[in-house]
Amino acid sequence: MSTAALRPSTGRRRARIRWRRLRGSPALIAGGTILSLIVLAVIFAPLIAPYGPIHQDLFNTLSGPSGKHLLGTDDLGRDVLSRLLYAGRTDLSVGALAVIFPFCFGTALGTVAGYYGGRTDFVVMRIVDTLVAFPFYVLVIALVFVVGPGVKGIVIAFAVADWVVYARTVRSATLIVRESEYVAAAKVGGLGDLRILVGHVLPNTISQAIVYIMSDIVLVIVAVVTLGYLGLGVQPPTADWGSMISDGQQFLTTHWALATVPGIAVVLTGLSLSLIGDGLADLLRPQ
């Protein structure tokens, strides 16, 4: 019996196809580049930063950009550039940390609700509806207030408030995938529910959630910055973009760089993450 010829595709051609798809997504490239630069900069902060984040040069407070301080100093004599880099470390790591739990918890709950339907779905969706009824920031601020400001408070607040979007997204995708014939085939093949959920359902439902992570990290970073601005975020003297903006606010008319430079850092980070999210959305669409 003749064997059917496949569309030719050696490993090299497959790699080329993948590279072409990546290249065809300028969003992914642009976003990826910017984010990589930012991440590298903050990772190597201890090596790059000329000073420590809390090192004070009291004879040089509020100085503009100079040879010694490339971006100037703040009102306590701390080097803005160094603080910017260390603050980036704080904000990016808290941002990444704060989305992990919502992603995992929300995805799991959404999958279970979507797959089993019935009462499970009803209960989960009512919880989601309740949480969604609260304005997001009201909830986060209230939780941080209760738990206490700082990194711990932020992570817990997001864990409670942020998982619902993941749950909803994954649930809708699961409702569709649950009816697909390959899931039926897996059942007929004797696979148990857990194996089906992990091996057949999740790979096909999770892409939307992954794309959402990018937007979510932006959201978290902005929220951390906002909380910092409100004094509820990362506590001084630890550097964080939010408190840098808030501290620099009083000097807007005289030394505008103190508030705007960290602001630009937030914008760039958010922009790069959004671009990556767009690019990923295209890439993850099953061909």
Binding site: S2, A4, A5, R7
Partner: protein, 326 residues
């Protein structure tokens, strides 16, 4: 002698992008007189649906009509530009394969037929509705005045297809193009719709072009047939004679591969090899890699569609005499 209702000459349609284009319809010619029917039979990638779309100038963006002529009662139709739609209005109509997606779900059946009567034939609103009911009756929908108010989702598959045919007739065309109109239907409903098309062809003297993958269906409704492979006609002729004694190896292969109700207990005999990728056709005859009778001469192209020894038959084969009876 009056011109044929529809004549197509050397139609060439290509697909692809700026870097690389390839023909998907490669020099197709045929004609149909009023009251006659021709079937175009082929599989995926043969170009049969695109042929109809090209005649209607309704091709998707990536498809380009490169060259060719389409004549309606001797008058040439534009294949590009803004006048394509108006030139065909009221003269050529197309019946699609899947009535569920081709009918607008938010308008009633009667409204959709009436709209065509209004826009193409200029009937005023009341008269258009009456005409719509009349046409729905003509296509065999019982209780037409009531059913005309139904929406597509309330109608069965067979009825939806009849509504599509009524819409096509509302423009009072001379030529009716059908793209696999019964493929999605149950066999008893298919029989009803085929009967309907056949009787309309006779009573309205329509020129019918019927595209299908199903040889047996085409045998039932078309006097002439063209077998299409890789964008070109490989064999044409009167249907019954062609199926009884094909002259092209692909036609023979199809007859052996097709399952028929009369063949209980005979498993189908597959054609070796695979359908070719239109972007990468073999040199010479596109069928030669799969052909039991091919030799060196078959790899040198082009292999033209030439008249055969029997009347009204043509075949595009280097060795048509080698093809045995089925």
């Amino acid at each position: 002698m009056t011109a044929d209702a529809l004549e197509v000459r050397d139609l060439v349609v290509s697909a692809g992008d700026h870097h690389h284009r390839w023909p998907v319809v490669d020099g197709v010619s045929f004609s149909v007189a009023a009251g006659e029917s021709i079937g175009i039979v082929g599989e995926s990638g043969s170009g049969k649906s695109l042929t109809l779309r090209a005649i209607m100038a309704l091709t998707p963006n990536t498809i380009r009509i490169d060259s060719g002529t389409v004549l309606l009662a001797g008058e040439e139709l534009p294949l590009h530009g803004r006048r394509t739609r108006s030139a065909r209005r009221g003269r050529v109509a197309l019946v699609f394969q899947d009535p569920l997606s081709a009918l607008d779900p938010v308008h009633s059946a009667g409204a959709q037929v009436a709209e065509i009567a209004r826009r193409v034939r200029g009937l005023p609103r009341r008269a258009a509705w009456a005409r719509a009911v009349e046409l729905l009756e003509l296509v065999g929908i019982r209780e037409a005045p009531r059913r005309a108010r139904d929406y597509p989702h309330q109608l069965s598959g067979g009825m939806r297809q009849r509504v599509m045919i009524a819409m096509a007739l509302a423009s009072e065309p001379e030529v009716l193009l059908c793209d696999e109109p019964t493929t999605a239907l149950d066999v008893t409903v298919q029989a009803q719709v085929l009967d309907l098309l056949d009787s309309l062809r006779a009573s309205l003297q329509l020129a019918l072009v019927f595209v299908s993958h199903d040889l047996a269906v085409v045998r039932g409704i078309c006097e002439h047939v063209a077998v299409m492979y890789a964008g070109r006609f490989v064999e044409t002729g009167p249907t019954a004679a062609l199926l009884e004694r094909p002259r092209h190896p692909y036609t023979l292969g199809l007859l052996h591969a097709v399952v028929d109700v009369d063949d209980a207990g005979r498993p189908p005999r597959p054609i070796p090899g695979e359908l070719p990728d239109p972007a990468q056709l073999p040199a010479g005859c596109p069928f030669h890699p799969r052909c039991a009778y091919a030799d060196e001469a078959c790899t040198v192209g082009p292999v033209l569609l030439l008249p055969g020894s029997e009347p009204a038959r043509a075949v595009a084969c280097v060795h048509p005499d080698l093809v045995p009876p089925p």
